[in-house]
């Protein structure tokens, strides 16, 4: 009986009795019986970028659970990505604690608002949050917009609004951010990725 290249690589329980082990006179029986006492534990391994600072270190994330509906995925370990040329597998103390940040019970997962005069934080929807922010921005811009300076020169500035953009933004997101905010007259615009 001939085996092709794929079979040559294969190791399966049914084949152990015809393998080198048995042919040479060593008994595979105990090893075969033992297989049923084991179970496979599975974890996925994924690349990502640390969200904290401008360095943007590469990380490897390990999580349990497959993508099936009934299983809950959980991140079990995060470490520096040794193949990433920026951090070469290292992480700072903050980055090394990423898993705790992700799983922190205090982590903010939805928009909340504390109304003027209230001491309570109240959960609101994303739509409501965006509407509120837009209204605040409009009111502030209407109140403080400078169309012309003292010399009568057109400047179109909105000096009371500032924006700090995340270092995890892509080039494209950065381009859109500048177009939008400069279009509104924002001058105080910066990104975390600018060291």
């Amino acid at each position: 009986m001939n085996m092709n290249r794929r079979q040559f690589f294969k190791v399966c329980s049914a084949g152990l009795t015809g393998s080198s082990i048995a042919v040479m006179g060593f008994s595979p029986t105990a090893a075969l019986a033992e297989v049923r006492t084991f179970k496979l534990a599975r974890a996925t391994e994924t690349r990502n970028i640390c969200p904290y600072c401008s360095v943007s270190c590469g990380v490897l994330i390990y999580s349990t659970g497959d993508k099936s509906k009934n299983s809950q995925s959980e991140i079990i370990h995060i470490e520096g990505d040794p193949d990433n040329p920026v951090n070469r597998g290292t992480l700072c103390p903050k980055g090394a604690g990423l898993r705790d940040m992700i799983q922190s019970k205090d982590r903010l997962k939805w928009p909340e608002v504390r109304e003027a005069g209230s001491s309570e934080w109240k959960r609101i929807s994303w739509n409501e949050a965006l509407d509120r922010i837009a209204k605040h921005m409009k009111a502030d811009r209407d109140a403080n917009f400078i169309a012309q300076n003292a010399d009568g020169l057109t400047v179109n500035r909105w000096p009371t609004m500032g924006a700090l953009v995340s270092s995890a933004s892509s080039n494209e997101a950065g381009y859109l951010t500048v177009k939008t905010l400069r279009g509104l007259g924002v001058t105080a615009l910066d990104t975390q990725a600018r060291i």
Binding site: F8, V11, S20, I21, M24, G25, F26
Partner: protein
């Protein structure tokens, strides 16, 4: 006072893309097999493999110089993106290595099957041995050679390791196929995640024949280079000697797997020995529907007919 320039960026050591085998690779493997054999369900076989590895070490030391292919042939291979060592042109000295190992291994403590195989090989003529070597390296083999081929493989490992040892790592180049050895073109037996200053936590594939290692990115399939569907499997509930140090890296894009061993879990881990001490992992991953992408040449014919 004279000012002194400060070098804010001292040159850091670059990670080596290729690690040629160490001269004591087989001795380390022998110790590892011996260590793994304690309380193992395949203890006797693993102890035998420890003796085989020690015999490999002795043969590697006894043969003064393994002849490399001509410089011209290596240059030609390099220019055409081929590995420098050619599996088709074996130096005849491999048969000396084999005969020395067979003589060292033959004693009464071996089971009958192994002794019969040893005797058969010791009396075999050169042409029969060459035929066996060609069969093994071409990978289209007959299951009734499961006894002989591990010995043939062991001698060829000694020979190609001896040749690889003499190469200059700077003369190696990245091949188009990332899954084969840049030294001899053989498939990898497993990957190993190394400890060390510049190479810390980097993953290297370990050649099934010449023990050369070459760097490939982690969290990436070594067969199809997909990085979206990689998972790691390990045996749950084993308090074994190498618990946690051996995992199977599976890829759902191409349904293949290869084992990966971690030096940070066990610094003495050996890609060949730890692979054979965790056959249960192979069997379970095989049942889960993944195909192994590289052979361990010391175990032949472990497939179902």
């Amino acid at each position: 006072m004279q000012s002194q320039p400060i070098d804010f960026h001292p040159p850091s050591e670059e990670a080596a893309p290729y690690l040629l085998p160490a001269a004591d690779v087989f001795a380390g493997r022998a110790r590892r097999f011996e260590h793994l054999a304690c309380d193992h369900s395949l203890a006797e076989w693993l102890r035998f493999l420890a003796r085989l590895s020690q015999a490999q070490h002795d043969a590697l030391k006894a043969i003064p110089e393994f002849p490399l292919p001509e410089a011209q042939a290596r240059e030609l291979a390099r220019n055409h993106g081929m590995p420098p060592l050619n599996l088709g042109e074996r130096p005849a000295v491999w048969r000396d290595a084999l005969r020395q190992m067979l003589a060292a291994l033959d004693d009464e403590t071996l089971p009958e099957g192994a002794r019969a195989t040893l005797t058969g090989l010791q009396t075999a003529d050169d042409s029969r041995l060459e035929k066996l070597a060609a069969t093994l390296l071409e990978g289209e083999i007959s299951a009734d050679l499961a006894g002989e081929l591990p010995f043939i493989a062991a001698a060829l490992q000694v020979t190609y390791t001896g040749m690889a040892l003499r190469l200059d790592p700077a003369s190696l180049q990245k091949l188009d196929a990332p899954a084969v050895c840049p030294c001899c073109g053989s498939p990898a037996v497993a990957s190993v995640v190394r400890l060390g200053a510049a190479i810390n936590n980097l993953r290297y594939l370990h050649c099934s024949l010449c023990n050369t290692e070459w760097n490939v990115p982690r969290a990436t399939c070594t067969t199809c280079e997909d990085d979206k569907e990689i998972a790691l499997h390990e045996l749950e509930g084993t308090a074994g000697k190498n618990a946690g140090a051996v995992r199977a890296e599976t890829c759902d894009a191409c349904k293949s797997y290869l084992k990966i061993v971690y030096q940070d879990k066990d610094p003495n881990v050996d890609p060949v020995a730890d692979d054979l001490a965790t056959l249960a992992l192979d069997m379970l991953v095989d049942e889960a529907g993944y195909e192994r992408s590289g052979p361990n040449l010391l175990l032949i014919g472990a497939y179902s007919g």
